[in-house]
């Protein structure tokens, strides 16, 4: 991210809002990959991801003049992406069922962890490099929505705990918990492969 530099994201967005088209090119080049993967990992469909991704950036173009750098540009653009995803889920009827964090007796968590563990049962049959990426994606898809959401915002968007909490509308402790669970599951899922890959 270029925040804080003379050519920060916020400055570029303000310059674009003032009519400098080249500023948008730089901004888009910086963030297109992270936003695209964030959307792709959430909707798990390349076609839909393309459509949603275009909507997010078109929305950013439309409201460029009203942009105010009250927050980081990254937070702003990922908020746009998050809202577009929520709209997509509402339209398609795919909404989250329940958060594993809200599971009182931990049964759901045990089931999820057992599923993730089952993927590691046959490590010797995988080709390490290619298998590692596939395993990572598979483990990400197996995460609960909230954990995957927090993980992607941190790893793709580079958002802090507070920014994630603000964006998702939950408390910071909740965000911490989600990230802790997500990391643990991914480590567990990739553990044997990582050992072999190292």
């Amino acid at each position: 991210m270029a925040a804080g530099s003379a050519d920060s994201d916020e400055d570029l967005m303000l310059a674009y809002g003032a009519g400098e088209a080249g500023a948008f090119d730089k901004l888009y080049a910086r963030h297109k990959g992270g936003v695209y993967r964030y959307i792709l990992r959430q909707c798990r469909n390349a076609g839909i991801a393309d459509e949603l991704f275009q909507d997010v950036w078109m929305n950013a173009i439309r409201v460029r003049a009203s942009y105010a750098p009250t927050a980081k540009f990254t937070t702003w653009i990922y908020t746009l992406a998050h809202n577009r995803l929520v709209d997509h889920w509402r339209a398609s009827g795919h909404m989250k069922v329940a958060s594993i964090d809200d599971d009182e007796n931990g049964e759901a968590r045990d089931i999820v962890e057992s599923i993730a563990g089952a993927a590691n049962d046959e490590p010797e049959t995988r080709v390490l490099s290619g298998e590692l990426g596939a395993q990572l994606k598979h483990a990400l898809e197996a995460l609960p929505d909230e954990q995957r959401h927090a993980f992607l915002l941190q790893y793709e968007g580079g958002l802090s705990l507070g920014e994630i909490a603000e964006l998702t509308g939950v408390g910071m402790e909740t965000v911490k918990s989600r990230l802790r669970y997500a990391t643990a599951k991914l480590r567990s899922a990739l553990g044997s492969v990582r050992q072999a890959w190292k």
Binding site: Y16, R37, R64
Partner: protein, 316 residues
């Protein structure tokens, strides 16, 4: 938990490299450049602003169209109202212009009062049906209804609308009948008026009492003739006397006819007439008072009952 797992982060970075299609990149960048070239926009809400701007304009235009329609309708309604109002006192104002016009003419041109009065009356007689009663208004629906009946006989009624909703009210038969009756009664009098005014009075006396009584009865109740100013009537009377004494022409005959009409108009308000006769007597114009008293007795059926004792004794 702000600290990331470095191994996991590195692993994720190495194996998570999906990028949007280049075509999508080109489309988004092109849209971004087009947006800048097309001009600055004031935020997302601007797209709907022109629509909001047109809404009050459209509402104002609609209100204006409705107002113009109402204004265009209004004069028609007032015209209809005016004709209906003018039709109601059909017979009442008939005496006023007849009496006032010669008076004004006499006051402005005192030298030949009789001729001016005759001319004015002649002009009025030329348009008599129009000035005394509004027959164009009253007759128009009548004519229209007659034409309508004729068209109905020819099976062509369908497309013709009824002229006015208030047509029955406008077609008041009473005033027209009174006018017609008056004309009928006047016709023989005109023939014999050349002989003398006494003969005319006798003719009027020979008119059946029922017919004489029919005149005020046929006249509409709310249209009693206002008591004319005595001076103007006296002037008329003087003119008629002058005309009769000179044994004059048809002009004088028509003028005399109008004087007789005025007398009949006065007969519709006997009380006012009595007041006028008394005033003539008090003013010293006893001869005129006697003449009018004589006509009062001739025209008013219950004249003796109405006459006060002081006037009963005023014999010609």
């Amino acid at each position: 938990m702000n600290e990331r797992d470095p191994d996991l982060h590195k692993l994720y970075r190495e194996h998570s490299r999906e990028e949007p299609p280049s075509a999508l990149d080109a489309a988004i960048l092109a849209a971004a450049h087009r947006a800048v070239v097309s001009g600055p926009r004031k935020g997302g809400g601007e797209a709907t602003r022109p629509q909001r701007w047109w809404m009050p304009l459209a509402a104002a235009a609609a209100i204006g169209v409705v107002a113009i329609g109402i204004v265009q309708q209004a004069p028609k309604e007032t015209a209809i109202d005016a004709t209906s109002v003018a039709t109601a006192p059909a017979t009442a104002p008939s005496s006023a212009p007849v009496q006032q016009a010669p008076a004004a003419a006499a006051e402005s041109q005192p030298a030949p009062p009789a001729d001016v009065g005759v001319l004015a009356k002649k002009q009025k007689e030329g348009e008599a049906p129009a000035s005394r009663t509004p027959p164009p208004v009253a007759n128009a629906p009548k004519r229209a209804s007659e034409e309508k009946l004729a068209a109905a006989r020819e099976n062509k009624v369908a497309a013709e609308p009824v002229p006015f909703p208030a047509a029955p009210a406008l077609q008041k038969p009473a005033p027209q009948k009174t006018e017609a009756d008056a004309t009928k009664r006047d016709a023989p009098m005109e023939q014999s008026f050349a002989e003398s005014r006494k003969d005319t009075a006798r003719d009027e006396r020979q008119v059946p009492a029922g017919a004489v009584a029919q005149a005020p009865a046929a006249a509409p109740a709310p249209a009693p003739a206002p008591a004319p100013p005595p001076a103007s009537v006296a002037r008329l009377r003087a003119q008629s006397d002058a005309a009769s004494s000179a044994g004059q022409s048809g002009k004088m005959l028509s003028e005399q006819k109008n004087v007789e009409e005025d007398m009949r108009t006065l007969a519709r308000d006997p009380d006012a007439w009595i007041v006028r006769i008394r005033k003539l007597r008090d003013d010293g114009n006893v001869a005129q008072a006697q003449r009018e008293l004589k006509e009062f007795r001739a025209l008013v059926p219950d004249a003796e009952r109405r006459l006060p004792p002081d006037l009963r004794s005023l014999q010609p």
